[in-house]
Subunit: 355 residues, 2 copies
């Protein structure tokens, strides 16, 4: 059964072999203060730099989940005021976390299934939080649009949630300040690790708050995470196996090449959207073509949802439910590197045979 | 090679088989909102209740690490003032985290290698933080002494760090308020999960702070962790595989029986301390017998440290280094359920043949 839920999703096909080797080599028992751990840390972070084109003035650190990185971003980068672009459940949760941390958070909100036009960032905003790919609705913002935020708001840190899109988007890291993701989505790994990439401006912001005696947390404050990362270490005993597996899958992705991964992603998205458009009973959920996510494809399945789910399952394809209330009328299909062209072609055939 | 480092340590012997079954059953790809995940969560938490005798008025929730639980404990349970019993590097770090979170933290500090006599808890303290087993020095506080803290300080929450001792100590949960540990020590699992057990008084404290508009964090606030746990869920996508493996190893421990595990722990500790005392060149590091940890046994190895390490390694035993600066003059030996009687008997023989 191929799993199309948008995370945790299908594992990348090499993961189980990497797990076997990890156990053979004693990785789960390694001290996180050993040289071997430092090599594992370096393989993962240097591999990510190479794969995604992350420049030298960025640091790469690890947290327990992308949810934790929502919290740490607000805690370390916002003294008073953050601004959030909300177009679904996950971008909304980032906003709500800022409220829970007692910040003056403001938002520009559009309906689920839509993207943003011109936005007016309130004066005094220190950070713009933008979700590249809304996993709940299947709307993706264009990278050009995200890159343009910085030019109009030079004093804001632009923080990009790329949880369910990386490694697909070719981001220009010089025109944003921070990006994060979790490994159980596009990287096809077991859940339990978030990856946080930050530039110097983020670090300076956190250090400034620290010097003003403002609490920015403890073991996972950005300065402590970064100073440990410079030694290829972590402040606490981390998910060592998760970091090891990330490093190995990143090597596999490098072997395949980021260009091939991106091309395949586009091919798979194109044939699935085409199948949805051609279908008599179901449709793409996102109406505006330019807003349609390449990595989480949402189908409007209405009254056919339950029957279609069974139909696909008998063909070996397990679709993801719609998010929240929409589970009765939508299905979601993750399109990650773990999902092969052949699996997508099979999925498209199975959809075509549904009537 | 048997790994005696006190965490990450030797894996429990069943772990690799459980990992194989997890992959066969698709556990790493499971949605954390699925019924299957709820069963996994329930198996782990109900198993822990049974194994450790955790009463019904406690909730069991998960964090990324025990380090995170230090932070969450302070954030959720202390409005202004915490009190810390410091006798080594880890109990000190708990204290420092309270300072980093801008609390008025006070401490009673004794030298490394010692335990506490009578303590005077400052008026207004809301929480007493006590480390059952100081992993850095091999000092364990008696459970009777820990249980007595509550009677003399009824208004304080008594929070017990049992990171490197559980499942060994038979705690009386009615005379403490919170206990936590991480799974890479006594439970013999890969790192990446902390387990936090809290009673109603802890939850009420956190809820009171929340009602006073004090920030207690966001996705990992205690009320949110607990309300999710009541549905056998977690606020974020957690380390699903870690929770699954914990549940399985807890079942293995239940099969063996907590009584047998405790007896074996005491037997293994007894023969190792005896070997250290009988040795001409090395000694137990903790002088006072009543303070000696059963689960992390520290040897004073002085100028023989490097040569002894090599000697043990040629016999298939990898000792843990001394903590921090003491790595040149001490060795540490974890005594967890993953370490068999036979391995300890072999270790003792190898020590005896060192001259």
């Amino acid at each position: 059964m191929t799993n199309f839920t948008p995370g945790p999703s299908q594992l990348y096909f090499t993961v189980q072999d990497h797990v076997k080797k990890a156990f053979r080599d004693g990785v789960p028992s390694l001290s996180h203060r050993s040289k071997q751990f430092e090599s594992i840390f370096a393989e993962a972070t240097q591999g990510l730099r190479q794969l995604l084109g992350v420049p030298d003035d960025y640091d790469i650190v690890f947290a327990g989940s992308a949810t934790e990185i929502w919290e740490r971003s607000i805690q370390n980068l916002v003294l008073e005021k953050s601004y959030h672009l909300v177009n679904g459940a996950f971008s909304k949760r980032f906003f709500e976390i800022a409220i829970q941390l007692k910040k003056k958070a403001e938002k520009s909100e559009v309906h689920a299934g839509q993207s943003f036009e011109a936005i007016a960032v309130p004066a005094g905003s220190e950070l713009i939080a933008v979700t590249h790919n809304e996993t709940s609705t299947g709307v993706s913002l264009s990278t050009e649009w995200i890159h343009s935020l910085k030019a109009s708001n030079p004093s804001c840190l632009v923080v990009v949630d790329a949880v369910s899109s990386l490694p697909y988007p070719a981001l220009d890291y010089s025109r944003i300040d921070s990006v994060f993701f979790s490994i159980q989505k596009g990287f096809g790994l077991p859940a339990g690790l978030g990856v946080w990439m930050v530039n110097r401006a983020c670090l300076e912001r956190a250090e400034k708050m620290l010097s003003q005696e403002i609490s920015i947390g403890s073991y996972h404050s950005l300065p402590l995470l970064v100073s440990n990362a410079h030694k290829n270490q972590t402040p606490e005993t981390p998910n060592v196996l998760g970091i090891y597996l990330l490093g190995k899958v990143v090597q596999d992705f490098l072997q395949k090449g980021i260009h091939a991964i991106r091309k395949e992603t586009e091919y798979k998205a194109a044939i699935l959207y085409q199948a949805l458009e051609a279908h008599a009973l179901i449709n793409p959920s996102v109406l505006n073509k330019k807003d349609r996510s390449k990595t989480v494809i949402v189908a409007e399945t209405g009254a056919h949802t339950e029957r279609l789910t069974s139909h696909l399952q008998t063909h070996g394809f397990s679709p993801g439910e719609g998010y929240g209330e929409l589970r009765k009328s939508q299905l979601r299909f993750a399109n990650f590197p773990a999902h092969s062209k052949e699996q997508f072609e099979g999925l498209v055939d199975a959809l075509a045979s549904f009537q």
